[in-house]
């Protein structure tokens, strides 16, 4: 099964400020805008990139879920592409 929507959501977290801002405030409602499975939604809510890769998230894209983690929100990683 394609993981396109899971990857798309993670990609948008990094590349789309509006998605990041809205997801930071209400993750569930933004996830509802994507065609995600229940398993993908649960893995995203866990915030653990290592749970996303087995579901088909690209290894580097899975890291982008950390952008919602307060401990990594201002990480220098996001200041470079």
């Amino acid at each position: 099964m394609s993981s396109y929507h899971l990857n798309r959501f993670l990609f948008d977290l990094k590349m789309n400020q509006s998605v990041l801002k809205r997801a930071s405030a209400d993750l569930q409602s933004v996830m509802n805008e994507y065609d995600l499975t229940a398993e993908e939604t649960e893995a995203l809510k866990s915030g653990d990139p290592r749970r996303l890769r087995p579901l088909g998230a690209h290894g580097m894209v899975s890291l982008y879920i950390l952008r919602l983690n307060p401990a990594f929100r201002d990480n220098v990683y996001w200041a470079q592409k």
Binding site: V76, A79, Q80
Partner: protein, 287 residues
């Protein structure tokens, strides 16, 4: 005019991050994927040594580049989900923009793009059986800006970003990348400009893989030895598996440059594994 300079350099973000706080901050993210990396993380002193050694290597490459007096620098790199995503992933892409920009932490980059050379490569490829994708807008990313910071800090000449998909399976074969380089060499030879070329990326690292944090230094040393003795064409016979099992997918960018230099021996090679993620490699061919 024949190509005037060929270079290859790693583009790992930590090359350009400041040793200390920036390195540590960046690596905190890395360690979430590579928990074993914490055990081998470099001290501040080791970070400074790495930066110093990288600057020394870049100084040699930059000196060779400037001595060649190029009119344009082709930059062969991979996109990492900045311009291309799973909706469209081009295997090879030529930039036909007027100008290209990018940002890396506090560093801004802004170059003219050599659209005419891009168009000439695109046309030659279509005529000879290499069908590049192309487009009129790209954003520069660390795969270009990290080496450019050291090699072309002022936009004195235009660049031409060429992209190779090394990032999303399926990726092209080493031989196909080498053929792209051969085509670029032919096109450069027929152009009035003095053309230089830079490949970025590598060497061994496993971004996004379960092996993230491993560095196959033995394989990297073998690659560099092959370049020093002028046997680059033999690398076109390598299988994809040989490169991928060693974490050298981005060596496909280098394969394009190898296609432009053929049997020329590398004049300078440098290698420094960064302990935690990547074998940094730097090569110059004086032509």
């Amino acid at each position: 005019m024949p190509l005037v300079s060929a270079l290859a350099a790693s583009h790992a973000p930590n090359i350009l991050l400041e040793p200390g706080d920036e390195w540590e901050d960046f690596m905190r993210l890395h360690y979430t994927m590579a928990p074993k990396g914490v055990d081998s993380k470099p001290t501040l002193e080791q970070q400074r040594t790495l930066r110093h050694d990288a600057e020394r290597a870049f100084a040699v490459l930059r000196s060779d580049l400037e001595a060649a007096r190029p009119d344009v620098l082709i930059v062969v790199a991979n996109d990492q989900f900045v311009n291309f995503f799973f909706n469209v992933i081009p295997t090879f892409f030529i930039t036909l923009a007027d100008e290209v920009k990018g940002q890396f932490t506090r560093h801004s980059f802004h170059y003219k793009n050599h659209k005419d050379l891009g168009r000439a490569i695109l046309r030659a490829g279509l005529d000879e059986g290499i069908d590049f994708a192309f487009g009129e807008y790209v954003e520069l990313q660390h795969t270009q800006t990290v080496p450019l910071y050291f090699l072309l800090p002022k936009p004195e000449i235009p660049i031409l970003p060429v992209y190779v998909n090394t990032w999303v399976d399926p990726v092209p074969t080493p031989r196909r990348c080498y053929q792209v380089g051969q085509l670029i060499r032919e096109v450069a030879s027929a152009r009035p400009e003095r053309v230089a070329i830079l490949a970025t990326g590598g060497l061994s690292h496993f971004p996004g893989s379960s092996r993230i944090g491993e560095i196959d230094t033995k394989f990297d040393h073998q690659l560099l030895e092959i370049l020093r003795v002028g046997k680059a064409p033999t690398l076109a016979d390598y299988t994809l598996d040989q490169l991928l099992q060693a974490g050298d997918s981005e060596f496909l960018n280098w394969m394009v440059v190898l296609g432009t230099i053929g049997e020329a021996k590398a004049s300078s090679t440098f290698y420094m594994p960064d302990f935690v993620a990547t074998g940094w490699g730097f090569v110059s061919w004086r032509i």
